[in-house]
C-alpha cells in the first residue's frame, strides 16, 4: 500500500513536471518566432521522464 502510494506520488510528480515543462515551453513558443524546436524539446523531456527499461513507468 505504501509502495503504491509512493508510486502514485512519484507518478504525480512526473505529471507535474511534464505540465511545468510543457507550459514553460508553450510560454517560450508564445514569444518566439521560430518554435520548430519546441516539440523536439518536449518529446525529449517526455523521454527523460519515462526512460526505457524503467519498470515503474507502467503506472
Amino acid at each position: 500500500m505504501e509502495n503504491s502510494e509512493s508510486k502514485d506520488e512519484a507518478y504525480g510528480a512526473k505529471v507535474h513536471e511534464l505540465i511545468k515543462f510543457a507550459v514553460s515551453s508553450a510560454k517560450r513558443d508564445m514569444h518566439k518566432i521560430d518554435t520548430s524546436q519546441g516539440q523536439e524539446m518536449l518529446q525529449s523531456h517526455i523521454r527523460t521522464l519515462t526512460p526505457k527499461n524503467n519498470e515503474t513507468d507502467q503506472s
Binding site: 505540465i19 515551453s25 508553450a26 510560454k27 513558443d29 518566432i33 518529446q43 523521454r47 519515462t50
Partner: protein, 703 residues
Amino acid sequence: MKLISLKLTNFRQFKSAFIEFANDSNGKVTVIHGENTQGKSALLAAFRWVFHGYDGIVNSIQDPDVIVNREEVEIEAGASAVVELVFTTSSEDGLFYVTATRTVDARNQENPFYRNGLINLSITNQASVDGTTTLKDSAAQAYLSSTIPAGLLDLLFFSGESIDKLSTGGSTGIGEAVRTILGFTVLERAILNLKTARSKFEEGLRGSADEQLQKKIDQKGRLTLERDRLAANLRDQEAYLVKIQSEALSLSKNLQEYEDVKHLASDQIRLTALIEAEKKNLTQATQALRDFIRDAAFTIVSRRAASEGAKLELELRERGDFPSAVSQQFIDKLLHSNECICGRGLSPNSPEFSKVTSLRSAKARGSEFHDSAESVSFFLREITEKFPDRSSSFDGLRKECLRRKADIESNLLALEHVQKQIKKSSVDDIRNIQSEISIVNQDIGKTGESITNAKFDLEKLEPQVQKCSKEITALAAKKDETRVAQARIGLINDSILSIHQLIERGTSLMREKLDELIAIYFNEYNNVEGKARIERVPRGENLADDFLPVPLVQNLAGDWVVETGVNRAKQQCLSIAYIRSVLSVASKLDDITTGGTGLFSSESYPIVMDAPFGVLTEGPAVSVCSSFRDFDGQIVCFVNYANYRLLGHILDDGRFVAKRYYLQSFVSSNSGTRELFGATREVFSIFPAGARSAQLYSSILIT
C-alpha cells in the same frame, strides 16, 4: 509586461514627447491629465499604433491614415512619424527589455501596403550574455502580436468612452485576450504541444502495439494449425500411397503369375513332346540294347563255339539252354541257312532241327531270349570280363535306356505340375485382377495428385508461417518500446487532463472573483442605480472561452436584462470592473489555483486607459478610481481636467500615483491656427504641471 517609456516624434499632434511610466520600482500608476483636445487620445493611439500599426488604430481614432505631423509634412514631404516604446517582458528565459520602434513615411501612410509603417525591435535579455536580438518587419510584428494580440490591445489599451464596445461590439478578440491574460492561451498551447507529442508517440505505438502482437500470434496459431493439418494429411496420403502401391505391386505379381500360365501351357506342350520323343528314344534304346545283347550273345556264342567247340554247344544243348533264335527271322535263318552256330547246317532230320522247330512253334522262348537269365547273365559276365569294349558299349546303352526312362519320369512329373497350375488359373481371375489393378492405379494417380497439391499448399503456407514468426519476433522485440510508448502516452494524457482541470478551476475561480469584485466595487453603484452584474458568455467548446462580458441590469420587475446602451455609464463601469477583475484574478491565479507552483503564472499586464471616467457620474467614477488602489498591476490613466478635479483626492495621493504628467499644448511660433484632428492646436508637447506634486514630475521633453 511593464511599460518603461514612450517616445513620440512627429506623431499626430506631437512634435516630440517622452514619457517614463511608473513601474514597480517607483510605484504603479501614471496619470497624465490635461484639457480636452490636448492629445490624450493621441497618446493612447501611439500605444496602439506601435503594437499593431494602422490596424491597431483604425477603429479607435479618426483619420487613422494621418500619422505624420502635418506641420512637418509641410516642411518636408518625406517626413516620418516615429513612436518608440520600451517595455519589459518576463519569460522562462528571464527578463527582456524590448524597444519597439515603428516608423511611417508621410508618403506611405495612406498606401494600403505601407501604412503600417516599418517596425524594428531590439530585444535584450538581461540575464543573457548573448546580447541584443534585432527583429524587423514581419518577424518583429509577429513578436509584438504574440506579446499583445489584437484582442488584448482592445482590452488593455482602451478609451473609457468606448469601453462599452467590449460587451456590445461582439469582439471575438476579447475572449482571446482574457485567455491570454489568465494564462489559458499558454495552457492551451501546452495542451496542443502535448497532443502533438502524443501523436508522435502514438505513431510509434501503431507499429508495435500489443494488440498487433496478439493478432500475429493468433494468426500464426491458425497458420500453424493449418500447416500441421496439411502435413498430417500429407503423411496420411503418402502412407496410403505406399499401401496402394504395394497393393498394386501385389496385384501385378498375381497377374504375373497368371501370365506365367501362358508359359505353362507351352511348357505342357513342350514336355508332352519331350515325353513322346523320349519314349521313342527309349524304345529305340531298348531295342538297341536288345539288339546289342542279341548280337553280342550271338557273337559270343559263335566265338565260344569256335573256340570251345562242341563242348559248350553240347552242354547248352543238354541243358536245353542253347540259345534259341532270338527272333523269328533268326530262327528262320538258323533253320534255312543250313548251318549251325557252329558252322554246320542243320539237317532237317537232325534232332537240333526238330528242337528248334519245336521251340519255334511253342514260342517258348521266341522273343524272350533273355528269359534265360542265367544264360544272359553268364553272357554278360563274359562280356564284362572278356570284352571290355563290349561291356562299355553295353553300359552306355543301358545307361542311355535308364536316362531316357528317368527323363520321361521327370518330364511326366513336370507336366503333372504344369497341368495342376493351368487348372488353378482362369481367365476370369486375370480379368478381375486387371480390373483391380486399374482401380488401384487410378487411386494411385489421384492420391499422387492429392499429395502434389498438399505439398504445394504446404510449401505455400510455410513461408507465411515463417513470415509470421519473424513478425512476431520483431513485435515482441518492440513490446518494450510499446510499453514505454504507452507509459508516455498515459503520462501525456494525465498531464493534459490535469491542465484541463487547472483551466476549469481557473475558470471557476474567475467567475467567483468577477462576481465578488463587481459586488465590492459597485455596491454603491448598485444601491443608487439598481443592480447590475456581468455574465460570461461561453463562446464554444473551449473552456477558456467563457469570458466575454455581458453587462446585465436588473429591471423594475426584478429580471436581469442586457444593458443595451441606455445607460452607457453603467456599462462602462461594469466593463472597467470586468477588466480590472480579470487582471486581478490573473495576477493571483497561479497562487490560488495551483498553490503557487508557477505552472502557469500569467504575465503581468499594464492597463492604459483614456478617460476611464468620461461618462461616469461622481459616484461610479470614484468607485472605479478607488478600485485601482487594489490593483496590483501597472496603470496608465489619461484624465481630463474635470475628472482630475473630481478624483483629485485619489489621484494626488503619492502613495497611489507615482508619476503624474500635465499635458498642455503649445502653438508653434511659426504656424498659425489651422484645422487638425478637429482641434485648433497644431503642435503639442507634454510637460510637468508644477503646480502639484512637482517633485514627482520628471523626464519631460519639451520642444
